[in-house]
């Protein structure tokens, strides 16, 4: 059970949150102009690093804010969420 230090609520157990996958994947500005492959990259393809990973967590049972968290996928160490 990870402990995620929500900037709005303080440290809370992982099961108050919903996982949101890789952070920083912006919705394309003009989807219609993207090739099928570019669009598939946006919809389906994500990084899966061994090490530090920027990922999104939604504090569903707390302040209901989406956070960006840096988590080490091996040690589970978490850097200050924001």
């Amino acid at each position: 059970m990870l402990l995620i230090d929500c900037p709005h609520c303080g440290p809370r157990d992982e099961n108050e949150f919903r996982y949101g996958g890789q952070a920083g994947i912006a919705y394309p500005e003009r989807p219609a102009e993207l090739t099928d492959d570019e669009w598939a990259g946006y919809v389906f393809r994500r990084d899966n690093p061994k090490g530090w990973f920027h990922e999104r967590w939604f504090h569903a049972h707390g302040c209901r804010v989406w956070l960006t968290v840096e988590r080490h996928t091996v040690t589970h160490e978490i850097r200050k969420p924001r």
Partner: protein
């Protein structure tokens, strides 16, 4: 009897009666089951799992591999860990327990959540010292220990500190800890798991049932001690072979003489300590065998009497008569929790064992669990570890107490010896220690065990290494060594040592197996705690639930909701009831509880534009007062949810979602608003629980409306209005999910039951979800999650007309142009009619072109019997078919011939949505006569009203619970209203203000307020609330979980206020009553 006349920590003035395998026996408080059995002369406590060999008590703690017994409903526990109690009944096992499903088990298990600055695991010299050093700084400290009293190995030993008994020092520290208000000492509590971010789980054994504790600690001190180990030699499993430290513990702590004549195998100095203490207890010590002595000998085997009990020990060529062989093979630091925390181990050549190397978390080992075996050095290490942990948490420094002087001699290194006897080789391929051959006496051919519980021998390991295995992980799986109930606590080191001998490499190179939680076995009842039976998963109920129960409704689970499935009358089954309910809806008037549909209040200047991006169709153009059906897709273009959204004002919409997706849709809206379009002026508030919704359906629905909400009876299709409903401000929507004239009538949920009874009182027939499904399927309306499965687009469902061509973009638009979604040959929604009108196609059946064909063209998604059609029908998702095609629906052995038809079976021209057209043509229906039926005004009922008496009965002067009903509440977004509970950034809950301000969302009936007061209230809440509720930390309201329900928890002057969603009220009320009752039992 082998109980000594005096000495030890048992209370001989009290006799406890117990039974073992049916025999009546006696012991004393302070005994374990194992010590009482030994005191009663019971030497065989079970048989081994594979070979059926007699086995006796081997250890005095959690590492026990032999003395496994059934106690009451517990199928398998170590007798060395069972505290003796009067009336206890235990049975011996053959190595393996079996669950007796009929065994009475009246335990009340629960959970507990605590937070601290420093958590100390282990109450021996090091742990006590660490807790004291940390506690003196003022830090919040928790000390857990698995024994009934503190002291650790001081309980078992005769060591003296400052010239007094070691236990006196422990008692002094315990007394000092008791004076520190922020220190909590928990005995009978075994830490079983060390997880990420200093999250530790422990089991507290209480008379009424275990509590599973969850700890979050800023720092952890592990003072878990060490386990003595044996080594492999022939016949090392006989009853009478015992760890030297265990023999010493039985003599010193329990006042039990574990044998008459003993041989001590002293590979480590603890053997001498045991020999001294056994002699003091009147045991004749025949010989101390020390391989480290000049010309040192080794034990090479044992002999046994006819019953298999030890009667002699072989030392080289000699045989020494003995009924006790105390083996001191060396020590293994108990690194289980350290290793679970992902810390790494290293092999210490001097100690001949694995010790902690690098920590992975904010943790520090102290004392024997890192190889510091001396009492005084463990205390000194504990002081340092506790002070360090406190300092890292921001406390201290303080002046540390003095380390007492011990009377122990410095320990010499243990012998690097893992196996003896014929053919034994030694670790690292050194000189083998060989036994002289002693003829053909029995005993030579005895197996030499490495894992007593799994009956794994040196020969088994040799077979594994001979087959080429080099890793203990492989050997474990091949031989099962280490997979028993003790999880290798006594065998792990021996396996590594013997493997190193067999492979000719050092033990450090061989390594060990992974340590996994739990440290000791845990029953499922303990893990489940209160989450079992009716509380296993929260049950959500609507405001109408009591009425449904009274009417004998049969329920179905939809997500966590209980929804009426059908309402049987006079012994009807499902089919009869549904036929009658459908008939009422198609020909008269019927009513359904639609309160479970998700309802989201959406406000803001950009609300319409936001909805245009989320839905496939347009909402910014929707006139105020109108409703529109919509479908939303994921970015992948697949249907995610559907529902009707209405425009209540220029900047104000109300969205409805499917019952099961309400939370997911709200999350979805929040996600896109927060992460992609934060500049849009829009906010979302769940009002699902605030409104009770009654669907009034059928050609005579207007007659009912004209009584309950006359102002709304004339609403046009897909229009809505705010209206007075039986004296209450409500909302009425002209929405139909059946094709009939229908209204969805909403009132605040306090009034829902009253409205429902009024509607039924006017002649509406109640119907459930099954009838709703039949009615919608007759009209060909798809259900998200039934017709769709995450691979279906709106176009696949025949909803292309709902997909805007005018909008530049909407969620899923680009994916709808992907080659796979835009191709021909995708599965599409069709209708199915079986050749036999009485035969129902089964949902999930595969559709193939003909009997015996194996190419699956699609599957049946819905199959019903229709009263209106007078036959069966179905819906399906199929590819490459057109109307009139013949298919076969295959399910199990059934192969049903069907014909593909258009998916709308009933009233395809939509002639009935404003009422029965034949009646309307005759000018009937519509306006009621003034002398017509009437209904009483709605009465308010609070969601916890039914619990008032039980709440009153459950309370006492420690804790009281009551509902604070009918509190006006508002959710506020944006600017700080200057009042209320802050729930998040720009989000407040204002309570108690009778009048809202512009923009405030009325959520008065959305949540129920339960007040929990009294000095015991905190003890109740920590059994279900994972946040830190310490009064110094918990000063402002929080949103979190209690039990499994989302709540707002607010500290008040006298206790707590719990705000819970109205639909979770019954669950949480039952949970609180159980928690209060459970705490009373425990405090008893």
């Amino acid at each position: 009897m082998t109980r000594l006349p005096s000495g030890g920590l048992v209370d001989r003035s009290v006799t406890l009666s117990f039974r073992f395998d049916g025999h009546a026996l006696q012991g004393h408080p302070g005994d374990t089951l194992a010590s009482a059995l030994l005191a009663c002369g019971v030497r065989v406590v079970g048989r081994s799992v594979e070979l059926g060999r007699p086995r006796g008590v081997f250890s005095a703690g959690a590492e026990e591999p032999n003395a496994l017994v059934r106690v009451g409903a517990d199928p398998m526990v170590a007798a060395t860990t069972v505290e003796l109690r009067d009336g206890l009944e235990a049975w011996s096992l053959r190595g393996k327990g079996r669950v007796d499903l009929d065994a009475a088990d009246d335990r009340r298990c629960d959970k507990g959540y605590l937070h601290c600055d420093v958590l100390v695991v282990g109450g021996g010299p090091a742990g006590l010292a660490a807790a004291l050093a940390a506690g003196l700084t003022g830090a919040r400290v928790i000390l857990v220990d698995d024994q009934p009293r503190l002291g650790g190995d001081l309980l078992n030993s005769r060591v003296r500190l400052d010239g007094a008994r070691g236990l006196d020092w422990a008692a002094l520290v315990a007394a000092r800890l008791a004076t520190l208000p922020e220190v909590r000492v928990m005995t009978r509590t075994t830490a079983i798991g060390y997880h990420d971010h200093n999250y530790l789980v422990a089991v507290e054994r209480r008379p009424g049932g275990e509590r599973l504790w969850h700890f979050r600690a800023r720092g952890v001190v592990l003072a878990t001690g060490a386990h003595e180990r044996s080594l492999a030699f022939p016949g090392n499993d006989r009853p009478g072979v015992m760890l030297a430290s265990a023999a010493r513990a039985y003599a010193n702590r329990y006042g039990v003489r574990p044998g008459r004549r003993a041989v001590v195998f002293a590979c480590a100095d603890s053997g001498y300590e045991a020999a001294r203490d056994l002699a003091a207890a009147g045991v004749e010590v025949a010989e101390i065998v020390d391989p480290r002595a000049p010309g040192g000998e080794v034990v090479t085997g044992t002999t046994a009497d006819a019953g298999g009990l030890l009667d002699g020990v072989r030392i080289g060529s000699r045989r020494v008569e003995a009924d006790l062989l105390a083996v001191a093979g060396g020590w293994n630091p108990a690194v289980h929790l350290f290793s679970q925390s992902q810390g790494t181990l290293r092999f210490d050549e001097g100690l001949q064992t694995f010790v902690p190397d690098v920590s992975a978390q904010a943790e520090r080992s102290a004392g024997a669990c890192r190889g510091l075996y001396g009492t005084a050095e463990a205390i000194e290490d504990g002081f340092a570890a506790g002070a360090q942990a406190a300092e890292q948490a921001g406390f201290g420094p303080v002046h540390l107490p003095r380390v007492p002087d011990g009377d122990e001699r410095a320990l010499r290194a243990p012998a690097a010896l893992w196996m003896t006897g014929p053919g034994a080789t030694q670790a690292g391929g050194g000189e083998p220690v060989r036994a002289e051959p002693v003829g053909t006496e029995p005993g030579l051919s005895e197996p030499a065990f490495v894992d007593l519980h799994r009956d794994v021998t040196v020969a088994d390991l040799a077979r594994a290494t001979g087959a080429g295995m080099r890793s203990p992980e492989h050997v474990k799986r091949y031989t099962t060594a280490g997979t028993g109930a003790d999880q290798g606590k006594t065998s792990g080191a021996v396996v590594t040592g013997v493997m190193s001998a067999l492979l000719g490499v050092g033990p450090g190179q061989v390594g060990g197996t992974t340590y996994r939680p739990p440290y000791t076995p845990v029953s499922f009842a303990t893990l489940a705690g209160r989450d079992r039976g009716p509380l296993s998963d929260p049950v959500r109920t609507t405001a109408l639930h009591a009425s449904h129960l009274a009417r004998g409704a049969v329920f179905e689970d939809v997500g966590q909701w209980k929804r009426p499935w059908y309402f049987p009358r006079d012994g009807e089954g499902l089919n009869e009831a549904v036929r009658r309910e459908c008939h009422a809806a198609r020909t008269g008037v019927a009513a359904m509880d639609a309160s479970t549909l998700g309802k989201i209040d959406i406000r803001g200047g950009d609300a319409g534009g936001f909805l245009d991006r989320i839905y496939t169709n347009l909402y910014s153009t929707l006139p105020v007062g109108a409703c529109r059906y919509g479908v939303m897709c994921g970015a992948d273009g697949m249907v995610f949810d559907d529902g009707t959204t209405s425009r209540l004002g220029d900047d104000h919409y109300l969205m409805t979602t499917t019952t099961g997706n309400a939370a997911a849709v709200l999350d979805w809206l929040e996600e896109w608003h927060q992460t992609e379009w934060p500049a849009l002026d829009v906010s979302f508030t769940s009002v699902t629980d605030h409104w009770a919704t009654v669907a009034v359906v059928g050609p005579r629905a207007r007659e009912v409306l004209s009584v309950i909400a006359p102002d709304a009876a004339g609403l046009a299709f897909m229009r809505h209005t705010a209206a007075e409903v039986l004296g209450v401000e409500g909302r009425v929507f002209r929405i139909s999910f059946s094709g009939e004239l229908a209204y969805e009538v909403n009132v605040p949920s306090w009034y829902g039951r009253s409205l429902w009874e009024a509607v039924l009182g006017l002649g509406a027939v109640p119907y459930g979800t099954e009838t709703m499904h039949v009615l919608r399927a007759e009209k060909g309306f798809a259900i998200v999650g039934q017709e769709t499965d995450g691979t279906v687009t709106p176009q696949d469902l025949g909803l292309s007309w709902l997909v805007s061509k005018r909008k530049p973009d909407y969620m899923g638009r680009r994916s709808h142009a992907r080659p796979d979604t835009s191709r021909d040959g995708r599965k599409r929604l069709v209708g199915l009619l079986a050749d036999d009108p009485a035969e129902q196609v089964e949902e999930g059946a595969q559709l193939v072109a003909g009997p015996g064909d194996r190419v699956m063209l699609g599957h049946v998604t819905s199959g019903y019997t229709s009263a209106a059609l007078g036959r069966t029908f179905g819906l399906a998702m199929v590819r490459d078919v057109t109307t009139g095609d013949r298919l076969t629906a295959v399910s199990g052995q059934a192969a049903v011939p069907v014909t593909v038809v258009e998916p709308v079976f009933y009233d395809p021209e939509n002639t009935r949505r404003d009422g029965d057209p034949s009646v309307a043509r005759r000018g009937g229906d519509a306006s009621p006569s003034p002398a017509g039926p009437s209904a009483e005004a709605c009465r308010a009922e609070s969601p916890a009203a039914g619990f008032a008496e039980r709440f009153a009965a459950a309370g006492d002067d420690r804790v009281r619970v009551r509902e604070a009903p009918f509190i006006p509440m508002w959710e506020v977004r944006g600017a700080d209203p200057g009042t209320g509970l802050r729930l998040g950034p720009a989000w407040w809950l204002v309570t108690g203000e009778p009048e809202g301000r512009p923009g405030w969302v009325d959520v008065s009936a959305q949540r129920t307020v339960l007040e929990l007061d009294g000095p015991g209230a905190l003890d109740v809440l920590i059994t279900g609330c994972p946040v830190d509720l310490h009064p110094s930390v918990f000063t402002a309201p929080v949103q979190t979980l209690l039990g499994q329900a989302p709540v707002i928890l607010e500290p008040t002057a006298s206790g707590y206020r719990v705000y819970v969603r109205a639909s979770f009220t019954a669950y949480l009320a039952e949970w609180l009553l159980d928690a209060i009752a459970g705490n009373l039992v425990i405090l008893g």
